[in-house]
Amino acid sequence: MNATGSAGGATRHDPRGPTGPLAGAWQRHRQDLPLISAAQKRQLRVLVVGSGLAGASAAASLAEQGYMVSLVTYHDSPRRAHSVAAQGGINAAKNYANDGDSVTRLFRDTVKGGDFRAREAGCFRLAELSTAIIDQCVAQGVPFAREYGGTLANRSFGGTLVSRTFYARGQTGQQLLYGAVQALLRQVEAGRIDLLPRRDLVELVLVDGVARGVVCRHLVSGELETYTANAVVLASGGYANVYFLSTNAVKSNVSALWRAYRKGADFANPCFTQIHPTCIPSGDAYQSKLTLMSESLRNDGRVWLPALPADGREPQAIPEHERDYFLERQYPTYGNMVPRDLASRRSREQCLAGHGVGPGGRSVYLDLAEAIARDGKAAIEARYGNLLEMYERITGQDPLVTPLRIYPAPHYTMGGLWVDYHLMSTVPGLFVLGEANFSEHGANRLGASALMQGLADGYFIAPATITAWLAGQPQPEVGPDHPACRQARAEAEARIAALLAPRGAPRTPRPVAGWHRQLGQLMIDACGISRHGPRLERAIAEVEDLRQAFAEEGGVADLGACHESAAPGAGRGINAELEKALRLQDYFGLADLMLRDALARQESCGAHFRQEYQSAAGEAQRDDVRFGHIAAWQWRPQGAPQRQVEPLQFNEITPSQRDYR
């Protein structure tokens, strides 16, 4: 494989960025986009997949403009999308704290935080739109935290030097999502949005190369349904569940993205995955997910491990001089407050060296004892009450008495479908929003920036650019009986039938979760916090073996056969195993692509750490000459996927190396 790939993507991966100075570029660009009359908008339908921050805000805003909208979600209610679980907050360059913040500073922090692997123009637009997002959410009635005088409160987050994070206790994502969902439901009530819950996307429909619809499986009836539209929006979230255990909701999946990838939407930087350092570690083999403990605990907690390897003593029995506060030792300046990627990597190193504690030696202590001695138990309880309660509920241990045990866990995926400045993928008419696209976070996302990006995409960017796309586009009539729809539906039907059909000799059915767990183990080991060329190469072969084994031995029972109300046909009725199997098939493909991407990127940057590319002090070594680009992978029906690059230029900020020592 050519390490840097072919640079032949000049036209395929044209970012269509704005011209002129970055400041005000989006406004200028927007002024020149074509418009559509209100009467004409009523004749056009946009189909949105996903009801999280990006999907709900886009659907509502498009319907407000007059479009007809269909919204597909696998949940029973749009309110349940995983944005609901975001804890910390949302950034905006309001400078309410009067501490010198500005759009330019937020822009710089985002580009640097992403380790110079995102586009300047996109990051600047995001910083500019951040303030309007807060205005919009407040107008909707989002109950942000307030000061006594009634103004909005801010806090600092993730090592930035300014206070620009708006929050609603530890439930900011929930409150922002309910704001967007309320706007969405208002349009449902007005008859402009068709809400299509309990449906999984199983195929994308292209007509003459343009995205025109989707095929869904209804999760109760099991029927396949085809929905057509004039443009399709994917806002289906990230893919951290490829690791099986992650902080994502257990049904979050990559299938919408993967189906689009196989129809020509290129996948950018799939190996950029964020592993969050402070999560409750895994214990029992049947543990179904990992729970995040907000990063804010590192403000008062000291991370340590026994200095002696395989020290079996209880933490209280280990005297001070036999404890290794390894982050404070390795990073005297930042100490426990180093960025997420460093904290994760160092914790893992110590555990691999045999110092780890808890089941399998896979966790580190986060100790509040010193803060309790300094500020008192009551103060610490007041500061972190909810979190400590949650920890105790899950682990059965009181963190005010025993140090918390934490370990890094997959949390967010910066990679996603490649999009241009208009958020359009390499499939014309297919727009990708929020975590599902690869855009502004580069190789590492900053805390409190995911909510900002999802809402910028949904409220402000996509409604403008989708109009621009539809304005210039002939719209041939496409209904569910169009040959392209029938073909997509037949493909989905065949895939489902193959999973249900008994293959080979009679076998003991093996639960799909078992296969997924195995894939997850492999991926976290080879393509998690730390990556190494030979291991990645081996893992590609191992994933392929596992995929083949699943194709031969895996399968699910057809429960629909006994479901009286369902029409005859394969996979009818409720079948959670079939849902899992369809998702797992797509994870196999994604895992292969992530490994290839990690192998090809012969540098360390942001969350992507290659052991071969580090300084003598063990710090990440970026290679801007060979890898100062976005890698976009194109699916090919035969042979390996093709890696193409979109070069990155930095005119406003000079790339620098991070140093937290």
Binding site: I134, A183, L185, A249, I574
Partner: protein
Amino acid sequence: MSPTLSLTLRIWRQQQPGAPGRFETHQLEQVSADLSLLEALDWLNERLIAAGERPVTFEHDCREGICGSCGFLVNGQAHGPQAATSVCQLYLRRFRDGEVLVLEPWRARAFPLLQDLSVDRSALDRVWAAGGYCSVNTGQAPEANALLVGREQAASAFDTATCIGCGACVASCRNASASLFVAAKLAHLGQLPQGQSERQRRALAMTERMAAEGFGSCSNQLECEAVCPKQISADWISWMNRELRR
């Protein structure tokens, strides 16, 4: 090694609406006390699948108590015996070795059963859609700090806005009333200046829709408050009743 325990699960099994249902008994032998009750159901389902039987259907997703997907009765209590906890956050160490747990779906006319422990709660969304919002289009918002909201007032609005829409309040009410759900939404927006212009219309529209969807009237038993995973106070139902007479 974490402690283990054995439990007997009596689970409601029903193939589809209208079909006869029955309790099915399953033994969990020596499972880790560190599993959540939903993970114990995963454990059971993997064994049912391996034996060629139909797994138990139940709703779930985030498994950290915020999405509101999960919910069923555990020994007659919505979300089980632990206060302020949705069933995904209920861990087996809460139970005694050898205990019998009876698991049943939410029972309410407005929540038709789908299968086993899963019911259709879309009626709650239709009630919400009747008026549970501020009618403001994208792009119309004034500068955020132009509107001052007192710290206590904002905190109180937040408390009512934390409702996760799980339906436990309905399931625990002998009248299957959605009063706490509706009151929480009305109080969230009704306490904020942004929600004032539509305040009365919203209260009427949402309570009318609640009745139309088949939810009953408040039973005044306050079971809803006792089972609410977000501990929303039933005082807000009184607040809602005053709201309707404004």
